[in-house]
């Protein structure tokens, strides 16, 4: 019952937060953008399971990583790209196998490693890394998340786009307490993926509208 209520609240809060977020204007440039790269060249994007870079591990870490996976597929699909695998809210029977990499490896990736990402036919590979996630219960509930996202051109073996998103969100009072720590934590991860991808990738959607 409590879990059902939490899920309903999560959906409502997500709708309130995400829909305006999709159209929000943020002129900040990404941390890295290859000068020869254009967002409009991208259509099909292979999304690699989110990697874990957190130092302080949350108890429901795998669920947070799954939330990031879902959010990436959901937003990319919504903005008019063709994410592979496509968006599905169904939890996989077993957790996807996640790469073990360091933050330094991702910031300065080597060509042979990039060429091994995703299936051989993939050209654009999107990789999300959960850098930090935490949630707290006080008089209300709050959560925060930091996500780094990268797009690789697998055929050329290079990084073409990288950015960092950070979100701290929550709800005070009884509503926050009813949502619970886990829900707020997942909400922060969801919003954070929207934050990091939305600034750059919603462009195509805006142009088509």
């Amino acid at each position: 019952m409590r879990r059902g209520l939490s899920t309903c609240l999560w959906v409502v809060v997500t709708a309130c937060c995400v829909v305006p977020g999709c159209f929000a204007k943020d002129s900040r440039q990404p941390v890295y953008l290859d000068p020869a790269f254009s967002y409009y060249d991208v259509d099909t994007v292979f999304i690699v399971p989110t990697v874990d870079l957190t130092v302080e591990k949350e108890n429901d870490l795998e669920r947070l990583l799954l939330t990031a996976d879902w959010a990436a597929r959901n937003f990319m699909q919504y903005w008019g790209y063709n994410p592979v695998p496509g968006f599905s809210k169904k939890e996989p029977p077993s957790p996807p196998s996640r790469m073990s990499v360091s933050e330094d490896d991702l910031k300065d990736p080597q060509e042979p490693w990039i060429r091994k990402l995703g299936p051989p036919e993939a050209r654009w590979v999107l990789l999300l890394a959960l850098e930090d996630a935490s949630s707290h219960l006080t008089f209300g509930a709050s959560g925060k998340a930091i996500v780094m996202a990268m797009l690789f051109d697998r055929q050329k073996g290079k990084l073409v786009w990288r950015d960092v998103g950070a979100v701290g969100s929550g709800q005070g009072g009884l509503l926050g307490l009813a949502m619970g720590k886990g829900t707020v934590g997942r909400q922060a991860v969801w919003d954070c993926v929207n934050d990091v991808l939305g600034r750059s990738w919603a462009l195509k959607h805006k142009k088509n509208k």
Binding site: V31, D104, D105, G140, V164, A166, G168, G170, Q171
Partner: protein, 169 residues
């Protein structure tokens, strides 16, 4: 030491964070830790000039060594150092402060949000002869650490506190 904005990774002035005092506090905590492990600290002044030069060369990559990032590329420099120093260990430390948005509370909607700033601390003991990390610990503090603060003191205790089991020694 790196001081940067969280979202843009734009570098910030270490002076604003009293970077020198933070480094001194970390060095002092590390010294205490090494002595507690029964290790002897070698002062740079007591070493031959060539060794000092080798140390300075490796010191430029201290952050990378602490994080164990592509340590194999530094193996020749580490091996040279090991040749000159004999069987000794290196302690490398790294600190990164990322400054993000502040926490908020909106009384009308009831929305709350925690602050985004954080400090990452990493310490590693390296065997230069083998070119390997023999012990490493890292700690994330979800705020900007200030020197001589109770938070900094607690963080140093956590970073160097747990019982240490060296991997190869």
């Amino acid at each position: 030491m790196d001081f940067e904005l969280l979202k843009s990774e734009a570098p910030l002035d270490p002076k604003k964070f009293d970077g020198t005092a933070l480094a001194e506090e970390m060095a002092s905590a590390a010294e205490h830790f090494l002595r507690s492990q029964g290790l002897v600290i070698v002062a740079e002044d007591g070493l031959p000039r060539e060794s000092v030069e080798s140390i300075q060369m490796v010191q430029r990559e201290a952050g990378r060594l602490a994080r164990g990032f592509r340590i194999e590329e530094l193996r020749p420099a580490l091996a040279k150092l090991a040749d000159r120093l004999g069987a000794r260990l290196l302690l490398a430390q790294y600190l990164r402060v990322r400054v993000g948005s502040k926490g908020y509370w909106e009384p009308l909607s009831g929305a709350i949000g925690p602050g985004q700033s954080e400090t990452l601390l990493v310490a590693s003991l390296i065997d230069p002869a083998a070119g390997q990390v023999v012990w490493s610990n890292k700690l994330l503090v979800r705020k900007v650490l200030r020197p001589r603060s109770p938070d900094m003191e607690r963080s140093m205790a956590s970073l160097f506190g747990p019982p240490v089991e060296l991997l190869t020694h």
